[in-house]
């Protein structure tokens, strides 16, 4: 955008320095077409400058109309040549929803800069110009900036740079309550081995904060983000699928972040030729070249141990099929087991939780259940005849038992009203189970 507007302004300077009016006007018509070819949509800046200049200095109404007609016609006439639709021909190279939230903010900013340039001269005019630019910039920021989206991007960026402590400490998602914010917090805790311990300590949009669904409608950002938890669990099949999908829908089908992810996944899979192919894309980049060259040399990767050893067919977003397959391939994959159990809990599917807990958690990690698992077990065991013995067998602590008894008593006292319980039990699974509403 800066290069575009600068080129347009410099072209205007050349235009205004031509003394012969006839020659200048012919040049104006030629320049406007050349500028469209060279800088695309920003050529409008040149047209507006010339029109203002001609109207102010020469009252050239007819010429201004002619120039505006040429400006409007150039994209339409060249749309076929550049294989663009009529709308895209006017805005190319600006990409909708990526470089600009809204097209009009681009136009408003350009218009404001132009007016400022045009008004420049006396001090009063300079003040007026500066005020216009400031007002339009602030209005543009207010209209196109979303703090909610900023908080999501902040979490995603910190996670990308491996700052798990920062992500875990972020409070913004408690205010904005987004799936992606919750997702990155869960991921940060999972990477620290604390997913079940911290599950109830922050906002949970049911199981939507554990894995991000992807399909052609979710946009490339969500597809990009969805790879992170999949890689963490070891599901390279779905992770690669998501990364490819994200890459496909990134503007110009290029994303250094996804290329890095794809290199990582290929190296973990042992798909070295493919990793080289992706690495060659990054080789000449300033910020990723060195990383790519070094990454393809490291052929050993701890994550390979988590890979699925048996091939099953499953639909994208079928988290149960994916996790069960991963755990059956590697029963010590605690991240996958925690994700599976937390998925059951956040889905309030206690029956399935008990089955998964017995099948996957007990044989390897059963001696030290996380507090949330103990809380859930209390609810599962409550229905069994030999509940007391089973509580002992499952290593549920006395503290959790007593808290559970206390919760149930207060629940009955309050006739199901959650408010009196929130302070003491707001961060227990029991409170989530009884009071959280799940949006399927």
């Amino acid at each position: 955008m800066v290069i575009g507007v600068t080129s347009a302004v410099w072209m205007f300077v050349i235009y205004s320095s031509i003394n012969n009016r006839v020659l200048a006007r012919i040049a104006g018509c030629v320049f406007v077409v050349l500028l469209y070819v060279a800088i695309g949509a920003h050529f409008i800046a040149f047209c507006l400058l010339v029109v203002l200049y001609e109207l102010k200095n020469h009252r050239a109404y007819l010429y201004s109309v002619v120039l505006l007609i040429i400006t409007m016609s150039a994209p339409l006439l060249m749309a076929d040549y550049y294989c663009l639709t009529a709308k895209r021909a006017f805005f190319y190279p600006i990409i909708d929803g990526y470089m600009m939230q809204m097209h009009f903010s681009f136009l408003a900013t350009e218009a404001a800069i132009l007016i400022a340039v045009f008004l420049g001269g006396t001090k009063i005019k300079q003040w007026a110009a500066a005020s216009i630019v400031i007002v339009v910039t602030i209005a543009g920021l207010l209209l196109s900036c979303s703090m909610k989206q900023e908080s999501v991007l902040a979490a995603a960026c910190e996670s990308y740079f491996g700052h798990n402590d920062k992500v875990a400490g972020m409070q913004s998602n408690e205010r904005y309550k987004t799936y992606i914010g919750a997702y990155y917090k869960n991921l940060a805790y999972a990477q620290q081995g604390k997913l079940p311990d911290e599950l109830m300590n922050h906002y949970q949009p049911a199981y939507h904060g554990l894995f991000l669904n992807i399909n052609e409608n979710v946009g490339y950002m969500q597809a990009m983000f969805s790879t992170d938890a999949l890689v963490e669990c070891g599901d390279m099949a779905q992770a690669q699928h998501s990364a490819m999908l994200a890459m496909t829908f990134t503007p110009h089908q290029r994303s250094s972040r996804m290329l890095r992810k794809l290199i990582d996944i290929s190296m973990i899979n042992g798909d070295y030729d493919l990793a080289e192919k992706f690495a060659s894309q990054l080789e000449h980049t300033i910020f990723h070249g060195q990383w790519a060259r070094e990454r393809v040399k490291v052929r050993e990767n701890g994550k390979r141990a988590f890979l699925s050893q048996q091939d099953i067919l499953f639909s994208p977003n079928d988290w149960y099929a994916s996790l069960e397959n991963l755990i059956e391939s590697n029963p010590a994959n605690k991240t996958a087991i925690d994700y599976l159990l937390c998925f059951d809990l956040l889905d309030k599917n206690l029956g399935r939780f008990k089955i998964d807990y017995d099948k996957y958690y007990v044989p390897v990690f059963g001696s030290t259940p996380a507090k949330i698992y103990q809380e859930a077990l209390m609810m599962c065991l409550d229905k069994e005849e030999s509940a007391k013995d089973m509580i002992y067998v499952y290593n549920v602590s006395d503290k959790v038992c007593n808290e559970c008894i206390d919760f149930l008593a207060r629940y009955e006292e309050s006739n199901g009203n959650g408010l009196p319980l929130k302070e003491k039990f707001g961060k227990t699974y029991w409170f989530y189970y009884y009071y959280a509403q799940i949006k399927k």
């Binding site: 294989c83 099949a237 999908l245 290029r254 899979n269 030729d273 493919l274 192919k277 099953i312």
Partner: protein, 488 residues
């Protein structure tokens, strides 16, 4: 003064000219590592220059020895053959075996490699190749383009771009290799249809069936009047194993016969129905037969690995447009625990080339997919060991003279398909393949697109992307009468 300036300019020009690498004494006992690998191959006498890189070199000198000698040089690791000189060389050397001597300068060292060979076939390849560029992102797409490439030079021509066709899927640009070239291409989406091009007339057709929707894979017979297509409910699903990626299966599939003149879609119980799944039909070279793949219907995805498609044929009366009353087993792939897809007959009627995988009906994601060729006179199968690569080789097409095949091969990196050509000699031996030459072959490395469904033909397509855009948005669809449900 002017004289001095002229001398300086001439000296500068002389010094900056690219000259051959001086003779060197370091003889290597190996051929150079080229990208792409163009060593020891058979090439058409009309192919575009086979520009290549010699990895790690700073300067290259190439000497081609045939009936005559031809010298080329470059001041980088890429050798670009001048088009005029290249064409002249191939014309002079038709039918000859050329020895290619490469001398490269690398880090100040002069390397003299062992020569490799190019056999210049007497047979030319079709002038044009169409292919689709698609991100290999499993089951969805974003930006799709179908190009027509002139194989005698590097000119390309955009046939379709979904950016200006409602972002719909565009696929299967296929030619009939007939006297009057007829092609079709499917454009999906609300305003889409099958784009049918015959003798310069382009139509947009709606051939949807009530059962499964639009036509998919298919072929048009020589006169351009009849076409045979698959119509199917296609489902994508993921593999969990790390490098297997995607499985695509047909939940149901049938074949439909299309009369483009009378605008009728029909079928036969022999090639449709619930009991079997039929797909990938093609005409024999005399158009008196239709070959197709068929498997018993099984519940999928549970039984996807048990889906083994065999190759069958059914007679076809090209005058009356009628299908025969029995089907014949041509190749029992199930017996070999294999599955056949995408059969294509050579225009001379001698061979049928098809893809063979372990199971299923979507060969491009099966790394085990190979091309096999059957001699139609003897029934003998050639597994083309010299031609198949380590990963999927599929979606092939014959040249009009039956001497060249092109196919999409993922041999380089498992995921990105590239068009490879191979020569089929008089006795049916298929040569080592070579990749489509590009002006700068590095494009293969930096591109994140797969070359998909390569198709050879001789006459340039009658439309381009802009005309397709107009057809998509402005032309009315010709609705075909569907009588498939009336056939018992």
């Amino acid at each position: 003064m002017i004289k001095k300036i002229l001398i300086i300019i001439l000296l500068f020009l002389a010094l900056s000219c690219s000259g051959p690498v001086p003779d060197c004494n370091k003889q290597l006992s190996s051929c150079p590592v080229l990208f792409p690998d163009y060593t020891d191959i058979t090439i058409p006498c009309n192919i575009a220059p086979l520009n290549f890189y010699v990895k790690g070199s700073d300067r290259i000198s190439v000497l081609v020895k045939g009936k005559s000698e031809y010298r080329f040089s470059s001041r980088s690791s890429l050798i670009e053959f001048p088009l005029k000189k290249w064409k002249k060389m191939l014309e002079n050397e038709k039918g000859n075996i050329l020895d290619i001597f490469v001398i490269a300068k690398s880090n100040g060292e002069c390397l003299d490699y062992l020569p490799f060979k190019w056999t210049v076939a007497m047979d030319s390849i079709d002038h044009y190749l169409s292919y689709r560029l698609i991100e290999p992102a499993y089951e969805v797409w974003n930006h799709l383009q179908i190009y027509e490439r002139n194989l005698e030079n590097f000119d390309t021509h955009l046939l379709g771009d979904n950016d200006i066709a409602g972002h719909s899927c565009i696929n299967c640009h296929t030619s009939n290799h007939g006297d009057i070239q007829t092609t079709f291409m499917h454009v999906r989406g609300a305003n889409g249809g099958t784009i049918y091009s015959r003798n310069g007339v382009v139509r947009k057709l709606d051939m949807k069936t009530e059962k499964y929707g639009a036509a998919v894979y298919g072929e048009i017979e020589g006169s351009g009047r009849y076409g045979i297509f698959t119509t199917a409910l296609i489902m994508p699903i993921l593999h969990s194993y790390r490098t297997e990626r995607l499985e695509v299966f047909d939940k149901k599939s049938d074949l439909i016969l299309v009369d483009f003149d009378k605008r009728i879609v029909s079928s036969s119980p022999l090639i449709s129905g619930e009991e079997f799944q039929e797909t990938f039909p093609c005409f024999s070279s005399d158009y008196n037969k239709i070959y197709f793949c068929r498997a018993s219907h099984l519940k999928q995805p549970d039984s996807t690995r048990k889906m083994h498609y065999n190759l069958y044929s059914i007679d076809f009366d090209k005058v009356k447009g009628r299908l025969g009353d029995k089907i014949n087993l041509v190749f029992d792939a199930e017996e070999k625990n294999k599955s056949v897809s995408f059969p294509k007959c050579s225009p001379d009627g001698k061979y049928i080339l098809f893809s063979v995988s372990e199971y299923g009906t979507f060969p491009i994601w099966h790394t085990d997919t190979d091309l096999w060729m059957m001699n139609l006179a003897t029934g003998k199968i050639d597994t083309l060991n010299n031609t198949n690569g380590r990963y999927s080789d599929s979606y092939h097409s014959w040249s009009s003279n039956s001497r060249w095949i092109v196919f999409a091969s993922k041999r380089d990196d498992r995921v990105y398909g590239r068009p490879y050509f191979a020569y089929v000699d008089d006795s049916g031996r298929v040569s080592k393949p070579f990749v489509l030459p590009l002006k700068d072959p590095e494009s293969y490395l930096v591109s994140l697109k797969s070359y998909n469904i390569p198709e050879l033909y001789n006459t340039p397509e009658a439309y381009n992307a802009v005309k397709l855009k107009k057809l998509y948005y402005k032309a009315d669809k010709e609705i075909f009468k569907n009588i498939t449900s009336e056939i018992k």
